[in-house]
């Protein structure tokens, strides 16, 4: 019966707050490259997508993956490698990186979902560390140098991505589309089941849901979208490097999501822009970045668990 009920979704009006914020987002993304440095905005957009993908898992299923750098970083490597060595056009390079991330997510998901809670976090972290060590060793990744001078190529054979604004349009279109997809997933019957698992897994099981299957699908979706973000970033910077597979990257995406607001639609986006901007601004301070990041973590957990957008939404009593 439960699956029957899930198959007939309740049609709900789009909330006005989400619609307004979404429209504002589209306008901002269109206006941003004329005000800010386009590469900075593209980087932030990639991180925003990464954080939204991560939030799909932590915010809506309650699974804390501490190894999302695996999908982000390795997709970047594979996109960069296929574009540079095999000469794939950008749409296929990105597609290849994303597909590989989906496959990695499926394998890691099958392993990690066997345990819950804290164990899940430790397992995902350990798997990501393993693949970091692999990246350090195999010749394909170029070790400490990474894969450099990746050609951006021509999109669909027509649009030359070496032009900064064309590249921006491509990244913006993909990220906004992926963002809309995540929004649709969250509001689908499938998304409702995910939220039910987050709130009370036992009850979801007793209602007849195979929660492990739902968790696995959510994990693969999240890994895939993280891979999409990583592939795009590799093209934007024409570089894939060890930084993106390191555990600090897995930590950073947790931070972005937490600062912006766990389980909110726009929170991870805001968090990504903030953290990215902060790092840009603080890059001259060297190791202090680590200390400040740590401090932000501590403050968020102790006093600011709803995050910026979560707090805003609670104040305005709307959904964001």
């Amino acid at each position: 019966m439960a699956t029957l009920a899930a198959a007939t979704p309740v049609r709900r009006e789009t909330e006005w707050s989400v619609a307004v914020a979404g429209a504002a987002l589209v306008i901002l993304v269109i206006a941003a490259p004329f005000v800010l440095y386009p590469v900075f905005v593209m980087k932030a957009l990639c991180f925003a997508l990464f954080a939204c993908a991560f939030n799909l898992l932590l915010g809506y299923v309650g699974l804390l993956s501490f190894g999302h750098a695996l999908y982000f970083g390795w997709a970047g490597y594979l996109a960069a490698y296929s574009a540079k060595v095999w000469g794939l056009p950008p749409e296929f390079a990105v597609g290849f990186g994303t597909t590989a991330a989906a496959a990695a997510g499926l394998i890691a998901g099958v392993v990690a979902i066997r345990r819950q809670g804290i164990y899940f976090a430790m397992i995902t972290l350990a798997l990501a560390q393993m693949m970091y060590l692999v990246a350090l060793r195999v010749p394909m990744t170029g070790g400490e140098d990474g894969i450099q001078a990746v050609p951006r190529g021509k999109l669909f054979g027509a649009f030359d991505l070496s032009n900064e604004m064309t590249m921006y349009a491509f990244v913006a279109a993909v990220v906004l589309a992926a963002f809309f997809l995540i929004y649709r997933i969250i509001n689908s019957p499938f998304g409702e089941v995910l939220k039910a698992i987050r709130e009370n897994e036992q009850r979801a099981v007793s209602l007849g849901y195979k929660t492990d299957d739902y968790k696995l699908v959510a994990f693969v979706l999240s890994a895939t979208l993280a891979g999409l973000a990583g592939s795009l970033k590799a093209l934007v910077f024409q570089l894939a490097s060890l930084t993106d597979v390191h555990w600090t990257m897995s930590g950073e995406v947790v931070l972005m999501t937490l600062v912006g607001g766990l389980g909110t639609i726009f929170g991870p986006l805001v968090g990504a822009f903030l953290i990215d901007g902060m790092e840009n601004y603080l890059s001259s301070f060297g190791q202090w970045v680590l200390v400040i990041q740590g401090a932000v973590f501590v403050i968020c957990v102790l006093a600011f668990r709803r995050g910026i957008i979560g707090e805003l939404a609670a104040r305005l009593r709307v959904r964001l």
Binding site: V111, W288, L290, G294, V298
Partner: protein, 295 residues
């Protein structure tokens, strides 16, 4: 000289010894994690940073006050443990009632702060710390050369592990601890100060990490990132062993160290990923871990 499976015995036993050394640290650290997890239900991500602080404390004591290895072995765990107790009082106490994931994130943040501070002041490169005079040199066992200090590390960490196991499983204080793990409210009703016990437990677990740090200082270089390098491996060790039992953590730690050493001999390419691979296999066959029970 003789050969085992085509490997010279010298190399084989050398790696085996190195594996046992690594295993000693895996055991000490995963033991601390298990003790803390049992009482606080928190995975202490700061554990690696606290291990690093132990090594640095020994290094700084020697450099600035001339206090050597042996006094450090006593002073440092107490100091680091006290710092840990402070962390519990100031930070962890406030998130007791929240989802366990917040504990992981909070301790991760603390680890970043500590590592960042140490990197700021001491740079990323390692600092050497000499082997204490009384343990310099080594002896020839006929089939291999055994440095005294390494023998000491293995023996002493084994002893510390056993003592901890005895204290928790066989003494009165340990029984309070185990009872408070099962049902804190009930133990409180019997007039035992559970919050203080929680603080002390955390301090003790952290002290173990500090002790491991002091012991590691003469073997590895003392560097700010030594903690984050080892803690993720220790997490895998904990997943493999399961955190249900103290003995499980000890046995798994030593065993995996040996397995890692052997891999270095027979299949060097996989030596630093072998523990993660074992973790995957164990999860597929026995998800609760070798010694654990499903929560």
């Amino acid at each position: 000289m003789f050969e085992v499976f085509g490997v010279p015995s010298q190399a084989l036993f050398g790696q085996l010894l190195l594996g046992l050394i690594n295993g000693s640290f895996y055991a000490l650290l995963s033991l601390g994690l298990a003790v803390i997890f049992g009482m606080l239900n928190i995975i202490n991500f700061t554990h690696g940073a606290q291990y690093m602080m132990g090594a640095f404390a020994a290094f700084l004591l020697l450099r600035h006050t001339g206090i050597g290895y042996w006094p450090s072995l006593v002073i440092v765990p107490i100091v680091i443990g006290a710092v840990g107790a402070g962390i519990e009082r100031v930070f962890l106490k406030r998130i007791q009632k929240l989802d366990h994931l917040y504990g992981l994130i909070l301790t991760f943040g603390l680890a970043l702060i500590i590592e960042g501070l140490f990197r700021n002041y001491y740079g990323s490169s390692g600092q050497p710390y000499g082997v204490p005079e009384s343990l310099q040199g080594g002896r020839n066992l006929g089939f291999m050369f055994l440095p005294n200090y390494r023998a000491w590390v293995i023996a002493f960490s084994f002893l510390v592990c056993l003592a901890t196991w005895y204290a928790i499983e066989r003494t009165r204080l340990g029984s309070y601890l185990r009872a408070a793990t099962e049902n804190p409210a009930l133990v409180r009703a019997f007039g035992i100060n559970v919050p203080r016990m929680v603080t002390l437990t955390y301090g003790f677990g952290v002290g173990l990490a500090g002790l491991a740090g002091v012991m590691a200082a003469p073997i590895y270089n003392v560097s700010p990132q030594m903690g984050s390098d080892i803690i993720i491996v220790v997490f895998a060790v904990v997943v493999i062993g399961g955190m249900g039992s103290i003995m499980g953590a000890i046995v798994t730690g030593f065993t995996l160290g040996i397995v890692e050493g052997l891999t270095k001999v027979f299949f060097p390419e996989a030596s630093n990923t072998v523990i993660f691979m074992i973790m995957i296999i164990v999860l597929l066959i026995r998800p609760a871990g070798l010694f654990g029970r499903m929560a």
